[in-house]
C-alpha cells in the first residue's frame, strides 16, 4: 500500500467535510456577524430526517429510502428550510440586539433542536446505512480509497465552486458580498436586508444537509449529539481562516483536516489518543501568531 497518496485522500476528504461545515458558519457570520452555534444541530436534524421517527435502536429508513436523485435535492431543501425557519422564528426577532445576545440565542436554539430530536428519536445512537456501497474501496494511484472519500473531495470542490460562482455571478451573490462588508451601506443602496439574510441562511442550511449526508454514509451512525463535534471543528476553522472570510474558512477546514490526519499517522502510538490535544495546541499557536486569522485580507481597511 502506498502511504502518501492514502494520507492525501484521508486528509482531503476529512478536510472537505470540515470546509463545508465551516463555510456554512462563515456565510452567516459574513452577513450578520452571528456565529450560529445551532449549525451543528442543523446537521443532526438533516441526518434524522432520513429515518422514521422512533426510539428503536435500529433505524428504519424514511426519506433515506428514496433514490439519490430525489433524496439529495430534498434533503438539501430540508436543511435550507430549517435554517430559514430558525432565522424567521429566532434571529429575525433579535435583528437589532447585540451580537452576544444573538450568539447566546443560537446556543439556545441548538439545544431546542437537539432536545426535540431526543424526544422523538431517543438518546441511543442508531445504526443507519445510507448508500453502503460507497464505502467499497477503489484503487487510485496505488492507494486503496473508499469511493465515498473521492465523492467527498469532488463534492467539496463542486460545492465551493458553485458557491463561488453564485456569489460572483448572481445578483443575490453580489448583494450578499456587499452586505457582508457593510450592511448599512448596502441597504442605503436598496439592498433588502431580509432577502440577503434569508439567502445566507438557506445556503448555510443546504451546506449542513450536504455534510449530514456525507457523515452518515461515512460513519453509519445517527447520533443526536453528532452536530456538536463537527460544529466545534468548523467554528475553529472559521476563526483560524479569519471570521467572515469564505475562502479562509475553506482553506482552514482543509488545513485542520490535513493536520489531524497527519498527526494521526505521524504521532508515536502511545501519543495517538491525545491527537486532539496536539491539534488544538497548534490552533492556539496559530491564533497567537495571527489573531486576525491565517487568511484574513489586509485590503479591507478604509482609506481617508
Amino acid at each position: 500500500m502506498n502511504a502518501v497518496p492514502q494520507l492525501f485522500f484521508d486528509a482531503a476528504s476529512l478536510g472537505g467535510i470540515y470546509a463545508m461545515a465551516a463555510l456554512g458558519i462563515a456565510l452567516i457570520f459574513g452577513v450578520m456577524n452571528l456565529v450560529n452555534f445551532a449549525h451543528g444541530e442543523y446537521i443532526a436534524f438533516c441526518v434524522f430526517a432520513l429515518i422514521v421517527p422512533s426510539s428503536d435502536a435500529v433505524a428504519v429508513m424514511f426519506l433515506g429510502k428514496a433514490p439519490a436523485i430525489l433524496l439529495i435535492p430534498v434533503l438539501l431543501a430540508f436543511g435550507a428550510l430549517i435554517a430559514v425557519a430558525s432565522e424567521y422564528v429566532v434571529f429575525r426577532q433579535l435583528r437589532n440586539a447585540n451580537p452576544v445576545a444573538m450568539m447566546i440565542s443560537s446556543f439556545a436554539l441548538g439545544f431546542v433542536i437537539q432536545n426535540a430530536l431526543l424526544a422523538v428519536y431517543g438518546s441511543r445512537p442508531k445504526a443507519i446505512s445510507l448508500w453502503p456501497d460507497l464505502n467499497t474501496p477503489v484503487s487510485v494511484v496505488g492507494a486503496s480509497v473508499p469511493l465515498l472519500q473521492l465523492i467527498v473531495i469532488i463534492t467539496t470542490l463542486l460545492v465551493v465552486s458553485v458557491l463561488a460562482l453564485l456569489l460572483k455571478k448572481t445578483r443575490v451573490g453580489l448583494e450578499m458580498r456587499a452586505a457582508a462588508e457593510n450592511f448599512t451601506m448596502a441597504r442605503l443602496l436598496g439592498v433588502r436586508a431580509n432577502v440577503v439574510i434569508t439567502g445566507a441562511f438557506a445556503l448555510s442550511g443546504a451546506m449542513a444537509a450536504a455534510v449530514a449526508m456525507i457523515m452518515v454514509t461515512q460513519t453509519g451512525v445517527a447520533d443526536v449529539r453528532m452536530g456538536g463535534q463537527i460544529m466545534l471543528v468548523a467554528f475553529i476553522a472559521t476563526v483560524i481562516g479569519g471570521l467572515g472570510s469564505l475562502p479562509g474558512a475553506v482553506a482552514a477546514g482543509f488545513l485542520i483536516g490535513a493536520v489531524s490526519v497527519v498527526l494521526q499517522a505521524a504521532l508515536p502510538l502511545e501519543a495517538r489518543p491525545f491527537r486532539d490535544a496536539f491539534l488544538y495546541t497548534l490552533v492556539i499557536v496559530s491564533l497567537l501568531l495571527r489573531p486576525q486569522g491565517l487568511f484574513a485580507s489586509a485590503s479591507a481597511k478604509p482609506r481617508v
Partner: protein, 248 residues
Amino acid sequence: MTKLGVYDLEVRYGKVPALGGVTLHLQEGERLFVSGPNGAGKSSLLKAIAGAVSSSHGRVELDGDIITGKSAEAIARYGLSMVPEGRDIFSTLTVEENLRVGTGIRADKQAIEGDIAEIYDAFPILGERRHANAGALSGGQQQMLAIGRGLMTNPKLMMVDEPSLGLAPNIVDQVYDTLVALQQERGLTLLIVEQSSARAARVGGRMVLLRGGQVVGDGDAAEFAERDLLKEAYFGQADQSKSTEEAL
C-alpha cells in the same frame, strides 16, 4: 415643486440630542449646501433623512410621500440616494461591482449599461480600473466611485456628505464640477454637506448653516462666502467653518 420637506426633525443617540428640530425645504432641481462646525448634526440630518438612523420626532417628506420611519432600503426605492461621509466603498468588490450593487431596485434594466458607461465617461479613471478591487483606489478615486455608485440607483434626490473630505484641492474641484454637470444633465436635486463656504460659492447654490443641531442660517452660498472672506481679512486665517458661524 417641493422635492424634500423636513419638518421639525429630531435625532437622539441615547440621551444625547444630535438634531433638535430641523425644518428645511428643497425644491426640485435645487442645489443645497449644508454647512456648520463639527458636531452640528450635518451627518445625523442626512442619515435620518435616508433612514440609516431613526428620528425621535418630526417627519420627512419626499415628493409629498412621508418616508419617516421607513427602512433605508425602502427609502432608496423612493428615489433617494446617499453618499456617506468616508465614502463607505465596498473595498472587496471591484469598481464595477460597486456600481452595480444599487441597480437591483431599478425598473429600467436596459438603461443600466448606458448609465455605467456615462459614469466611466464622467470619471475616466473608474473605467480604466473597472475590474480592480475598489479598496485599491486612492481617496479621490473612491469619492468618484461613491458618487457614481450613488447615481446608479437612478435617484431623483442625491445627498452627498462631505465630498471634499481628505481630498487635494484640484481633485475637490474636479469632483464638484462633475457633480454639477451630472446634476444638470439628469435634473437631479442635490443636498451636499460642505464645510467651506468658498467651495460652495464656487459652484453656487443655496446654503443652510447648522449649529448645535439647529438651523441658524439660510441664504445664498456666495453671501456666506463673502462674509467669511471679510472675517478672514480682519481676523486672519481662521478655521473656515468657525468663521462662517461667527459671521452670523
